[in-house]
């Protein structure tokens, strides 16, 4: 409610102070916002008796959403916290969506039509267990419809109308892993079936009404089970024994447990290797995976097993769906070359296919990961089927009648890294015919705009103006523009797919599922790590296309094998890729490029060896020339050590490798483990441009900024204070900040904030650092600024000297000279807690900076750097005021109009990326989380260009009007003169 009021207020402010912010009708003009949900885990259809057919989904980004089944749009959506993983979803009472999350700890009910939360219950318990949710149809206990939830070792009966607990019973007291809750139709007994350890099979029978334990049976299986149970019917489960070669069927009806063993080789001739049961919900059938094939095995007469079908291991199977006439159907999706084959089969009859469709599928979507089947009644009263499929690239598609009805690119909800790339230069000039064709339209558009400006536009005109603005073809052209607003955003997503988004309207220009980041035998668990600019031609080699380097790893640890690819950003083709190779712990883009403008990269592996790419003799020559000037640092957060490294000679290997270099430790800084722990680091952006090194103060003095690309900001907190805010007292906690030169390991500045703790968010730009932390004594968040100035050049204080060249600014700078710096710092209170922090970048660095704060409310707030000036004083002098120094306040004001995201939210905001436009005043901002948001910012207003909706027609009209007026008045005055003379 508060947020709503706040948003309303915000909207009100946005519209009431038009000079400071966006006009209401400018929303969407230069910004775009896209909503995603992430990779779908569960889907529940709601199509019966509903005017709006919908599907409820839960995703890996912890989103529960209701989607329109006709178009794939989001009806409503809720993003749960990052630690609130959704385990199960279902629909109860036909109107509530029930979600079970946080490992079975929280049950919530959401209203199906509008997504309002109806109730929430917390299931307490100490043991973590497999979360289970069972919603029986038409089961009433004390006139309440009931749902059964198993979480934290307890089984709960919850009233689905209000979330009240009817009864609860602890089951996991002995450590039993309950795997299924079974409620036979029309029965008053609920079965909880599970395993204790790997060899005891347990069945609990509970009374549905009271939760009373009616019976507890258990039986040892000496050979031991491996993997999970697969439930075939209400009284039977299948499992694989410890050797993974014998199938065990477990019958547990009526309190009697019995085991029957069948050797897999009896069923599958030529069987070798381990067999695993896959989770499935097809009555009477279970799925067994052996090697690279998957077998459907049917159980007849409580024990006889028949293999009914066999498919490849990449194929996906849906859960069974009840059809009329007591039949069960399930969908099977098989993969072909650029096609997928969808078949819907009857549960008890493998041979007949209810439907058999072939759908063309984009290669870039990869394999089918999940299938959800739904049925509808066709116009001829027969059963029709639609399936929702989740692909390898996390996209979601609806198939019906052999066609893709809609698709959602939900891979974009999990962006890992972003890089911007230029668009191609327009080769041929704009053709005259095109302009002439558009001239009328152009004039009409301007006339409409003029009408709008003069406030004589009718509502229809206003709509037309808005449409023209939004659809301006300029915006979404595929060529470079003069202002540099049009670019490609290359994003790497967690699925291993790379997308190129157009900054004009956010559409996907191309997408590529990287071969190197797909699961393979050599790379079991690949994941993308980062993107780097590989080739960015702008001087020579202009005929080359720009490209990006995509780096990934085959596992979680830093020492796992690395993979990388080079992707052309114009065509979206993978031009080069290296399969599993040496580990990649760190990627250093070097400041050198070769004749094709390929940037040299040093890839460091876990053994501290550097590998140079591209592997060409030319690159090697360039690198060896500057070998001694390559330094980097590494922070070991566990040990509290910061180390500096340099490159040595070639590394010693069995096979000589010219492109491999050894490294050596040059310096180390050891933080005392009992009092300090590394909390955050920040460095300047490598592509930042600093316009001037000197800062002229109001009293005509010059201060020199200490500008070094090698500075590192590092913050440590007391080890006790690593936990959440409030876990320590102010006396126990302190925050120490450092500014360190990473070439020599010199500590240039060290400062302690007593009684403060993290989380620390920091941003480093030019010669200043802004960081955000919590002040325990003041019970408030604080932001501090440190500015570093060079004392060594302080003698060049005279502005005249600076202008006429009597200074030492041109002498080469070396890190080995003893730096003489002085710092200025100041702290301010700040209201919000932050998720991320960034700073605006412009092409030449002239425009003043804004700090972009990703607030806890998932919005982006732009804050002028002027508010964080350490030179602010309580009563600035007139001269200081002219310089732009704001009087000192203890807290930083939050101006509602300065929300970059205006009324929108970027759900679960993770990062903000700024890219300079070619126009100096403007910077492009891209914020990503589950949602994406892009806009243009002009921190000092657009002082170097007219606004886009500047009315040239009005200007022209005014000039014409003036000229006419001049003539008319001239004629009048002539006439008057004549008359006067005749008098």
């Amino acid at each position: 409610m508060g947020i709503r009021v706040f948003l309303l207020l915000l909207l009100f402010f946005c519209t009431s102070y038009p000079t400071f912010s966006l006009h209401e009708d400018q929303v969407g003009l230069m910004d775009w916002h896209q909503q995603y949900i992430g990779k779908v885990k569960h889907a529940v259809f709601h199509t019966q008796k509903a005017a709006r057919k919908r599907v409820i989904v839960s995703t890996e980004e912890n989103v529960v959403a209701s989607l329109d089944l006709r178009h794939g749009e989001i009806f409503w959506r809720h993003v749960l916290g990052p630690n609130d993983v959704i385990d199960q979803i279902d629909i109860a009472l036909g109107k509530y969506v029930i979600t079970l999350s946080s490992g079975g700890s929280v049950v919530r009910a959401w209203n199906l039509p509008d997504g309002q939360m109806v109730w929430e219950s917390t299931l307490l318990g100490s043991k973590s267990s497999r979360p289970l949710l069972l919603i029986p149809k038409n089961l009433k206990v004390d006139k309440d419809d009931v749902i059964f939830v198993y979480g934290n070792g307890f089984i709960y009966a919850v009233a689905s109308i209000d979330g009240e607990f009817i009864w609860k019973k602890e089951l996991a007291s002995e450590g039993i892993d309950v795997q299924q809750l079974i409620l036979p139709e029309g029965s008053d007994t609920i079965y909880a079936v599970g395993l204790l350890g790997s060899s005891r099979f347990d069945v609990y029978q509970l009374d549905v009404k009271s939760g009373e334990l009616l019976k507890h049976n258990s039986m040892f299986f000496p050979a031991g089970f491996s993997g999970d149970l697969s439930f075939v019917s209400e009284g039977m489960a299948m499992a694989v024994d410890f050797t993974e070669t014998v199938l065990v069927s477990v019958l547990f009806r009526d309190g009697q447990i019995s085991f029957h063993k069948t050797h897999v080789s009896q069923l599958i001739p030529g069987f070798s290797g381990p067999a695993v049961t896959l989770p499935s919900k097809i009555p009477g059938t279970f799925i067994l995976k052996t090697g690279s094939s998957v077998h459907f095995i049917k159980v007849i007469n409580e024990g006889k097993l028949i293999v009914v079908g066999q498919v490849g291991h990449t194929d996906a199977v849906s859960d069974a769906l009840s059809l009329p006439e007591d039949q069960q159907g399930f969908a099977l999706v098989q993969q072909g070359d650029g096609k997928i084959f969808l078949t819907v089969k009857l549960g008890d009859d493998w041979t007949t296919n209810l439907i058999d469709d072939t759908v063309q599928m984009d290669h870039q979507r990869g394999l089918v990961h999940k299938v959800f089947l739904n049925t509808y009644v066709r116009t001829d009263r027969s059963n029709g089927f639609r399936v929702l499929i989740v692909m390898e690239d996390h996209s979601l598609l609806l198939l019906q009648q052999g066609e893709i009805v809609w698709s959602r690119e939900d891979g974009l909800a999990s962006i890992i890294d972003v890089k911007a790339s230029e668009l191609p230069v327009e080769k041929d000039g704009v053709s005259v015919a095109k302009v002439e064709h558009n001239l009328f339209e152009w004039l009409k558009g301007h006339l409409l705009k003029l009408k709008g400006t003069l406030m004589i536009a009718t509502p229809d005109d206003v709509v037309a103006i808005q449409k023209i603005r939004l659809q301006s073809s300029e915006k979404s052209k595929m060529t470079r523009d003069r202002n540099g607003f049009r670019k490609l955003l290359i994003v790497l997503t967690r699925s291993g797919k790379v997308f190129a988004l157009h900054t004009g309207d956010g559409r996907i220009v191309w997408s590529l599922l990287l071969k190197s980041l797909r699961k393979s035998e050599t790379c079991e668990n690949p994941r993308g790590v980062s993107l780097h600019q590989w080739q960015d031609p702008h001087h020579h080699a202009l005929d080359e296309n720009p490209s990006v380097l995509v780096v990934g790893r085959c596992g979680q640890g830093l020492d796992s094998a690395g993979v990388f690819s080079i992707v052309d950003t114009y065509t979206g083709k993978e031009s080069y890729h290296v399969g599993p190779t040496h580990s990649i712990a760190h990627v250093i883009p070097l400041p050198f490029t070769d004749s094709r403008e390929q940037r040299l990269h040093l890839l460091l592996d876990a053994n501290r060896q550097g590998h140079l790419y591209p592997r060409t003799a030319e690159a090697l020559g360039i690198f060896q020339h500057d070998l001694g000037n390559v330094y980097w640092y590494s922070a070991e957060t566990d040990n509290g050590v910061l180390r500096g490294h340099g490159v040595q000679k070639n590394c010693v290997l069995e096979v000589a490798d010219d492109y491999c270099f050894g490294t050596r430790d040059l310096w180390s800084i050891v933080f005392p483990s009992e009092s300090e722990k590394i909390a955050a680091t920040a460095t300047t952006s490598s592509n930042e441009v600093v316009h001037t090194q000197a800062k002229v103060t109001a009293d005509q003095e010059v201060m020199y900024k200490y500008i070094s690309k090698n500075l590192l900001f590092l913050a440590t907190v007391s080890p006790k204070a690593v936990g959440p805010i409030g876990s320590v007292t102010p006396d126990e906690s302190s925050l120490v900040v450092y500014v360190i030169d990473t070439v020599t390991g010199r500590i240039l500045h060290r400062m302690t904030h007593h009684g403060s703790q993290g989380p620390v968010n920091a941003v480093f730009s030019e010669n200043w650092i802004v960081y955000h932390y919590f002040n325990l004594r003041a019970h408030r968040y604080e932001m501090s600024v440190i500015e570093i100035y060079d004392q060594a050049r302080a003698e060049n204080k005279d502005v005249l000297k600076l202008v006429f060249g009597a200074h030492n600014l041109t002498s080469p700078i070396t890190a080995y000279s003893r730096p003489e710096v002085f710092t200025k710092s100041q702290s301010y209170f700040f209201t919000h807690s932050l998720k991320t922090i960034a700073v605006t970048l412009t092409a030449k660095g002239i425009t003043s900076k804004q700090i972009l704060l990703g607030t806890i409310g998932d919005q982006v707030l732009a804050l002028d750097k002027r508010f964080l000036d350490p030179r602010r004083t309580v009563n600035p002098t007139q001269a200081e005021k002219e310089e732009g120094i704001i009087p000192l306040t203890d807290s930083i004001p939050i101006i509602p109009q300065s929300y970059v995201t205006h009324a929108l939210k970027v759900e679960s905001l993770r990062g903000i990326v700024t890219v300079p436009a070619k126009l100096e005043s403007t910077t492009l901002v891209f914020a990503y989380g589950v949602d994406l948001f892009f806009t243009r910012l002009a921190p000092s207003r657009t002082y170097d260009s007219l606004t886009e909706d500047f009315s040239y027609a009005l200007l022209l009209l005014t000039i014409v009007g003036l000229i006419v007026a001049i003539f008319v008045t001239w004629v009048w005055s002539e006439k008057k003169d004549l008359q006067d003379k005749w008098r």
């Binding site: 001694g628 040990n639 050590v641 340099g646 430790d665 040059l666 310096w667 180390s668 800084i669 050891v670 933080f671 005392p672 009992e674 009092s675 300090e676 006790k720 320590v728 007292t729 006396d731 126990e732 120490v736 900040v737 360190i740 020599t744 390991g745 010199r746 500590i747 500045h749 060290r750 400062m751 302690t752 904030h753 007593h754 002040n775 003041a778 604080e782 501090s784 060594a792 002498s811 080469p812 700078i813 070396t814 080995y816 000279s817 003893r818 710092s825 100041q826 702290s827 301010y828 209170f829 309580v874 704001i886 009087p887 000192l888 306040t889 203890d890 807290s891 004001p893 101006i895 008098r983």
Partner: protein, 302 residues
């Protein structure tokens, strides 16, 4: 060279032992120690986890003993070695830092009066150093990360291009040791002045180091200025919400211009009126005079 190192450790150990033994000698001071501990226990007692309480006590206990000991001798002398390496060679002792360990009333320890005595370079070391100078290689130094317990911990390394140390005939070096209590965090090591690039090769004629040492402790962050609510309203909100004060002209131009026009109009009229009595002035054009008369007669007629 190598024999000196174990001796140092031994002496440090002895010192520690002496300090350790010295504590129980006076009963009165042990009472003080308990009080001190109590105080600490109270502080720790706020946290619910008993483990976290015990840990600081155990780490602090040697400090306590030291502090109680220090009542008789507030400062104690300590020494730690500087080691050096030429290029990628192994580290060997190069000199000794000696300092006084000062214990404050709160139990915190700081070093004061740091002195450094460097060992003279042996012939091999001179040779190694020359080679470094010729190859523009790194001269590396190493310090313990804790001045009391040297062994078993990470060590502080710093390195500098050897040519930076011999800009003139003699060798110059400059240490800034960043301390936190008895822990050394890092050391800024290099030439005391600048080291212009490109670095010139200059072999020293005198093989003696001129060493400058500085100890540095952490600065306190400036406190956040706190204003009363009133002044916040004045400065914080008022500054932002109020539009900037406009000049008088900027504010009232729309009234001033018409006013000015009216005044001008009135002025011209007044001028005309003023002209009227002076119709008979010489030099005025006859036509005008006629017109003026005509007007005047018209007025009179009315």
């Amino acid at each position: 060279m190598r024999t000196r190192y174990p001796f140092l450790i031994c002496s440090l150990l002895l010192l520690n032992l002496c300090l350790f033994i010295a504590t129980p000698s006076s009963a009165f001071q042990s009472d003080e120690l308990l009080l001190d501990d109590d105080e600490f226990g109270l502080e720790g007692g706020r946290s619910p986890d008993p483990l976290t309480v015990t840990r600081p006590v155990s780490t602090q206990s040697p400090t306590r003993r030291r502090s109680s000991d220090s009542t008789s001798d507030p400062d104690s002398k300590i020494q730690f070695t500087l080691e050096h390496a030429f290029g990628d060679s192994d580290f060997s002792p190069a000199g000794t830092f000696s300092a006084r360990l000062k214990t404050s009333a709160h139990g915190g320890q700081t070093l004061t009066k740091l002195r450094f005595s460097r060992n003279d370079f042996s012939e091999t070391e001179k040779y190694n150093f020359k080679k470094l100078l010729e190859g523009d290689e790194f001269y590396r130094i190493r310090l313990p990360s804790n001045v009391l317990t040297a062994s078993g911990r990470e060590q502080i390394i710093s390195s500098v291009k050897a040519r930076c140390l011999s800009p003139r005939d003699a060798l110059d070096e400059h240490f800034v040791i960043h301390m936190e209590g008895v822990n050394i965090l890092g050391v800024n090591y290099g030439s005391p002045g600048s080291c212009p690039y490109p670095r010139q090769l200059k072999l020293p004629s005198k093989w003696s180091f001129k060493s400058h040492t500085v100890l540095k402790y952490s600065d306190q962050a400036p406190r956040t200025p706190v204003f009363t609510e009133e002044s916040v309203g004045e400065n914080g909100e008022g500054e932002e919400v109020k539009p900037p004060e406009k000049a008088f002209w900027a504010k009232y131009w729309m009234y001033l211009i018409p006013l000015g026009l009216i005044v001008m109009n009135a002025m011209t009229q007044a001028m005309n009126m003023a002209e009227e009595p002076g119709t008979g002035q010489p030099g005025s054009q006859p036509q005008q005079v006629v017109a003026g008369r005509g007007q005047a007669t018209a007025v009179r007629r009315r």
